[in-house]
């Protein structure tokens, strides 16, 4: 292996296999293990070895496979990809939380990982005590924590609550304190997983600022996020991971473009048997489309137009389902969530007959600026998730329209959401 002093991370043929089962391992009680061992022994004695290996491949799943990547010192790399693609698994291997099944990684420098904000916070301990404890858990020495203590308290803005147990903190204060400790970790390699998805916007902005500072300080940063704007701002290089494989590696804007393109291609293909979903499956989405108020299909909506979202669902339970709640969400093309609307928010639950049924939601004066939006959806039956296609239902294309009723096209910047008002 060539000794390039500029390499911080070098992964070769990295792969991680999980066994399928309730806990990721499948065996939770001794009895299961004994039963499993017995069946393996029986199988081995009765059938050929091919049988056992066939069983093995069907019970396992590669969360990560054949990942080869080199990251140079000081690079800030964004890792993007759909949910469940293996991004977090990669970070967990790099931070030594879990072992790879095959392959190896060489890391040069002290590693700090932030897979969650507030790891190891204890609710009964005070803010001061938690700073010490959390700092130590994240890998800081006592002297280091003491040196940075004032800065951490200042960043968290918890002031006089320093000696109050954190269980009495508001969730905002809790997150601020937790992030403040994490932000003062100074490893040579920093691994960050989606921790910015919490906290208020102002605080998120400060967190991003802090991360930017870290990145500029010449440290190597790996950043997993669904927030494409944050990834694009912070990172120079992007890695796109899909189905456990590293599929694109390059300049961040190119990788994001590729990711959005792939996602839109998939959504354009509509929902199929291949669509990844979660939920119990009784009532599932078949398709999503857009109609005008005249019930004619609408390929493209206009800003300010009255539109109808049509969700075609299939009830395969064999009897009409009452108490069905259906919701949709809208995202900008770079993954920023805009809004969520469930039928129940409007005081309505739906009844879905047997077979294929269309559910309509009328939206007046569509408050979206021109652009392409991703539509997600979820069906909940009697309080239990029945269907949730992980990548979304489809796309919503919006072109310019007369939202304000004045003929003005509105602001031209990247502001997806439109509001009307009366001025005096």
């Amino acid at each position: 292996m060539a000794e390039d002093p500029e390499i911080a991370i070098r992964a070769r043929g990295l792969g991680k296999r999980y066994r399928l089962g309730s806990s990721g391992f499948g065996l939770t009680t001794l009895r299961d293990t004994i039963a499993a061992t017995a069946s393996t022994v029986l199988r081995r004695s009765s059938a050929a070895g091919g049988d056992a290996s066939a069983r093995r491949s069907s019970d396992t799943f590669w969360a990560l496979q054949d990942v080869d990547v080199e990251i140079r010192r000081g690079e800030v790399v964004g890792i993007i990809g759909p949910n469940g693609a293996g991004k977090t698994t990669l970070l967990k291997i790099l931070s030594r939380i879990t072992e790879p099944t095959v392959g190896s990684v060489e890391l040069v420098g002290r590693v700090g990982s932030l897979l969650e904000v507030g790891t190891g916070f204890h609710p009964e301990l005070t803010g001061r005590e938690n700073i010490l404890l959390n700092g130590a858990i994240l890998g800081m020495s006592r002297a280091e924590i003491q040196r940075k203590f004032a800065a951490i308290v200042g960043f968290a803005e918890i002031g006089r609550f320093l000696d109050t147990p954190v269980k009495r903190y508001s969730s905002g204060m809790y997150v601020r304190l937790a992030f403040a400790v994490a932000a003062h970790l100074e490893p040579e390699i920093l691994l960050v997983d989606e921790v910015l998805a919490v906290g208020d916007i102002e605080f998120q902005r400060r967190c991003l600022g802090k991360m930017d500072e870290v990145a500029r300080g010449g440290r190597t940063v790996l950043f997993v996020s669904h927030n494409m704007a944050a990834v694009e701002n912070l990172c120079g290089r992007g890695l796109l991971i899909e189905h456990g494989r590293l599929v694109v590696d390059g300049p961040v804007s190119k990788v994001i473009e590729e990711y959005i393109g792939r996602q839109e291609d998939r959504l354009r293909g509509g929902l199929t048997g291949e669509t990844r979903r979660t939920g119990s499956g009784g009532v599932i989405f078949k398709s999503f489309s857009l109609e005008g108020t005249d019930r004619r299909p609408l390929p493209i909506a206009r800003s300010g137009q009255d539109v109808v979202l049509v969700f075609t669902v299939h009830n395969g339970t064999g009897r009409p389902q009452e108490h069905v709640d259906l919701g949709f969400s809208l995202f900008t093309s770079n993954g920023q969530p805009l809004t969520v609307l469930y039928a129940s928010y409007t005081g309505k639950l739906l009844t879905v007959d047997i077979g294929t049924v269309e559910i309509r939601c009328r939206i007046e004066r569509l408050p979206l600026a021109p652009g392409r939006y991703r539509v997600g959806g979820r069906v909940v039956v009697a309080g239990v998730e029945a269907d949730y296609p992980t990548d979304g239902l489809g796309l919503l294309e919006v072109e310019g329209g007369d939202f304000y009723g004045t003929g003005h096209a509105g602001f031209e910047g990247p502001t997806p959401f439109l509001v009307d008002g009366s001025w005096e």
Binding site: F25, R96, E106, G109, V111, L125, E129, I137, E188
Partner: protein, 298 residues
């Protein structure tokens, strides 16, 4: 070492110090893993913080607070005195039975509490295990070591009681550290083994209270060890066989070093020390073997 002593950062065991930076190679481990003493040394401050947390949190928001530490052995001692001494007629030689049973209950409580806390410690810390790396051994170790604080408080109490009833520690008190070390090793051995197995098999949760109860009756807490060793010798077996249960040596060693009553049971403590070393080795091996999959299955 390149880092300033102020920043003893986590040093993984597969480290080769080439040039100015640490180099770590991560890959699937095969066969038996080492104990990783060098890594443990680098994480000693975290161990300290985890112990400190366990002690701090233990009696938070309780009315009696630290009084619980004393209350449990004292009440148990009273019950034992009434039931086993008065009703059943267990004799304790020259030392008054209440003092005798209290001196046995303190090491016993350390062991049983430590074992119970440690065995559930990894599962209870799943939020740590799945989110951050550090040597997992620290979690059950901290759970066991935190019990030392309780034991220390009780020890002071016991010595005070001893003075009150006219029992002064004699020269045998120098053997107390040996007994404590033995107790620590025994509890840690059980804690490591059970905490690791508990990650895989939740059966352990039901096994532990049951095992602790059985051990209480098979260890010389309620009765003096001589009752058992005499029985063994009558059957033509060496008395030290009883010491192969390491709890026996711990309880007897602890009691004798404080309330000197007859000759120090050297054979029992030696046999127990031997058994504890073997148990600790086995505990560590099993722990290290299962450790690599903790985050995936906890």
């Amino acid at each position: 070492m390149v880092d300033a002593p102020l920043q003893p950062s986590p040093v993984p065991d597969a480290v080769a110090e080439t040039g100015p930076r640490r180099r770590v190679v991560i890959k699937a481990s095969t066969g038996l893993a080492g104990v990783g003493l060098r890594e443990l040394a680098a994480y000693r401050e975290l161990l300290f913080f985890l112990i400190w947390r366990d002690i701090k949190v233990r009696y938070k928001q309780t009315v009696l607070g630290m009084l619980w530490v004393l209350l449990q052995p004292i009440v148990t001692m009273l019950v034992f005195t009434v039931v086993f001494h008065r009703l059943v007629g267990v004799e304790s030689g020259a030392v008054a039975y209440p003092v005798f049973s209290l001196a046995g209950l303190l090491p016993w409580t350390f062991f049983s509490q430590g074992l119970t806390q440690a065995s559930s410690s990894l599962v209870n810390s799943s939020h740590l295990v799945t989110k951050v790396y550090f040597p997992r051994v620290l979690i059950p170790a901290a759970a066991v070591l935190a019990g030392l604080a309780d034991l220390l408080v009780c020890l002071v109490f016991l010595i005070t009681i001893g003075f009150a009833v006219g029992i002064r520690p004699t020269a045998t008190v120098v053997l107390l550290p040996w007994a404590l070390l033995l107790g620590l090793a025994t509890t840690l051995a059980g804690g490591l083994l059970l905490s690791a197995l508990n990650v895989r098999y939740r059966d352990i949760r039901y096994l532990v209270p049951f095992a602790v109860q059985l051990l209480l009756f098979t260890s010389p807490v309620i009765y003096p060890a001589t009752d058992v060793t005499a029985g063994l010798e009558n059957a033509g077996l060496p008395g030290w066989l009883y010491g192969l249960n390491p709890v026996v040596g711990f309880v007897e060693g602890f009691r004798f070093s404080l309330i000197d009553d007859g000759p120090f049971p050297l054979d029992l403590v030696l046999a127990s020390s031997f058994a504890a070393c073997i148990a600790l080795g086995c505990g560590l091996l099993v722990f290290r073997r299962i450790e690599r999959e903790f985050a995936d299955i906890v």
